[in-house]
């Protein structure tokens, strides 16, 4: 019974997602909205603005460096959390 309900729900989500995929902008289309927004400036200016020719590095550590600080913090949380959960803290160190 529970299995049947799960299957029905998942099928429903699947059909919804499939219709959604059919509606999405086509894969690889240069005119898709995702490529019209902020991307052009990053490609054009990142070397001049940041001195990095790896655009991704320029984005993660310059344009969006605040995100990456958060990312480093997530790792820090994970370490503190794992240590705290397994030992109740750093005391064993």
């Amino acid at each position: 019974m529970r299995k049947a309900i799960t299957v029905v729900i998942l099928l429903g989500i699947g059909v919804l997602f499939m219709l959604m995929v059919a509606e999405m902008p086509l894969y690889g289309d240069p005119n898709a909205p995702a490529h019209q927004g902020i991307m052009q400036k990053y490609i054009a200016d990142s070397a001049r603005d940041t001195g990095a020719i790896n655009t991704i590095a320029a984005i993660i550590i310059d344009y969006r460096a605040y995100d990456t600080l958060g990312e480093a913090t997530v790792l820090f949380v994970a370490v503190v959390a794992v240590t705290a959960a397994l030992y109740g803290g750093y005391e064993h160190a």
């Binding site: 902008p25 909205p33 310059d62 344009y63 913090t73 503190v80 959960a85 109740g88």
Partner: protein
């Protein structure tokens, strides 16, 4: 002074720096406590100053890294953000104070305080984020830290509850990230202002994508904010955590996700889209369910912390109800309830923690007569309970009044009735506790009042309950302007 214009990031950075430094201090407890409280205090001072500035000058926008709006990350502090940030800073400071002075429940305070600092930093960053992905990063930090401060207690129940919380929270995060990906796909922007501007053009082209994105986000935030019926993880998680964690989780963490969701609604999607979709009606239906189910389940609990946790489910319903009714006064009530519930639920959890610590009793049925042994603690508990019920003169009354008036404004009398019913249910489970504690038969438990240093933060919260109940006008400018963000 340069530092004041940098307040929006400095608040987060100060807390993060303290969190990074704390593990280095190791076992030097007084140093750890000093860093912990010092960071909380400075964050509070910065927040206060920033709120004044927002009230005087209007919205602050801070481009991190100096990159202007669509290219860099912008921290966007409007009145709602300033209000939320002030609530977080105030309540978390008092809870931190309790965590330092109160009974020790965690083997290692240094790791515990680090996690609390990280959690507070993430919440501050979340309510001020002006960028969709930046918001997501802070949500993840806070989710992980929130789970960790439950698991740190180390009992079987707390570990199991935190694992269940982790699984559901990860599901919510998945939904959120999917939603963000869909929105990026159809707009090409991450800055909320620019998303809104682009959506006015592309929304008609990709309606199903947008709809799914909104649905995924509502579910994602709903799981994290314990919106009925996605609240199943909350009672176990909140009732098995250490006292200070319970207060933080019920008082602040759950609400921060509501704030984030509402900020996405008016900043990133725009109120036009929000009004077009049946999201409001969904909120109304679910919050009514939360009000009734939370209250009814709270009535049948015998464990005091579980009762408080179920009551949180109901109170989350009040806040969603305010946004669902969507009239000026209803939103003011919902926003005020974020503050009031944070204060009174922290008060209740802290006093409950003190009672459990002093007597070893968790069961309500064994509370009779304890009130005469610990009059101060139980008086504080009674104040929190009265505020929950909505007795005039306490903070809880004000927000419920605004919500009820807002329901009338929106021509939905029925919800005013629901608020009344829920308040009566609250009375039905809070008053018997107090009555039996003070007037019940003599208890055989040898219970004494805790030390004054433990009672001090609790007294602070009690005074805040009365203060916001008697002088609600203090918060009015912030709350009214916040409501104007939604209803123009």
């Amino acid at each position: 002074m340069p530092s004041l214009t940098h307040a929006p990031v400095l608040i987060v950075v100060v807390l993060l720096l303290a969190a990074f430094v704390t593990p280095l201090l190791g076992k030097r407890e007084s140093a750890v406590n000093a860093v912990f409280l010092g960071a909380g205090l400075s964050a509070f001072a910065l927040t206060l100053r920033m709120t004044m500035q927002v009230l005087a000058q209007g919205t602050l926008s801070y481009p991190v890294g100096g990159w202007p709006a669509p290219y860099g990350i912008v921290v966007w502090v409007d009145v709602f953000a300033a209000f939320s940030s002030l609530v977080i800073a105030t309540v978390s400071l008092i809870i931190s104070w309790f965590a330092v002075c109160g009974p020790r429940e965690v083997r290692n305070n240094s790791a515990y305080f680090t996690l609390i600092l990280l959690l507070t930093a993430a919440m501050q960053g979340m309510v001020m984020a002006g960028d969709l992905f930046n918001l997501f990063v802070f949500i993840e930090i806070s989710s992980l830290a929130a789970i960790a401060i439950i698991a740190i207690k180390g009992t079987k129940e707390s570990v199991e509850a935190s694992f269940r919380y982790l699984v559901l929270s990860a599901l919510g995060s998945g939904g959120l990230l999917f939603g963000i990906a869909l929105i990026f796909m159809i707009t090409g922007h991450l800055n909320m202002d620019y998303i809104r501007a682009t959506l006015t053009i592309t929304a008609t082209q990709y309606p199903l994508n947008l709809l799914t994105a909104i649905g995924l986000m509502v579910v994602g935030f709903g799981v994290k904010a314990a919106l009925f019926p996605m609240h199943v993880w909350l009672p176990d998680a909140h009732s098995n955590a250490p006292t200070a964690s319970s207060a933080l989780l019920s008082g602040l963490v759950v609400k921060v996700y509501i704030i984030a969701l509402m900020r996405i609604a008016y900043l990133a999607l725009g109120l036009e889209i929000f009004a077009l979709l049946p999201v409001r009606h969904l909120f109304l239906a679910l919050s009514t369910g939360a009000l009734l189910v939370g209250s009814v389940f709270a009535m049948v609990q015998d464990n005091v912390k579980r009762l408080l946790a179920f009551s949180t489910v109901a109170q989350v319903g009040y806040i969603f109800l305010g946004f669902g009714l969507f009239s000026q006064r209803a939103i003011e009530g919902g926003v005020l309830h974020i503050l009031n519930h944070a204060v009174m639920k922290s008060l209740l959890f802290l006093t409950a923690g003190v009672i459990i610590q002093q007597t070893g009793i968790k069961k309500l049925s064994q509370f009779n007569g304890l009130g005469r042994r610990m009059p101060l603690t139980f008086a504080a508990f009674a104040v929190g309970a009265m505020s929950m019920v909505g007795i005039p003169g306490t903070a809880g009354f004000i927000s419920k009044l605004y919500l009820a008036l807002g329901a009338l404004d929106a021509d939905m009398m029925i919800f005013a009735v629901f608020i009344l019913i829920s308040s009566l249910l609250n009375a039905a489970y809070y008053f018997p506790i107090i009555i039996s504690a003070f007037f019940g038969s003599e208890s055989e438990v040898a219970a004494t009042e805790p030390a004054t240093s433990v009672l001090a933060p609790i007294a602070m919260l009690v005074s805040m309950v009365f203060f916001f109940g008697l002088f609600p006008s203090l918060m009015v400018p912030l709350v009214r302007q916040t409501a104007h963000l939604f209803v123009r």
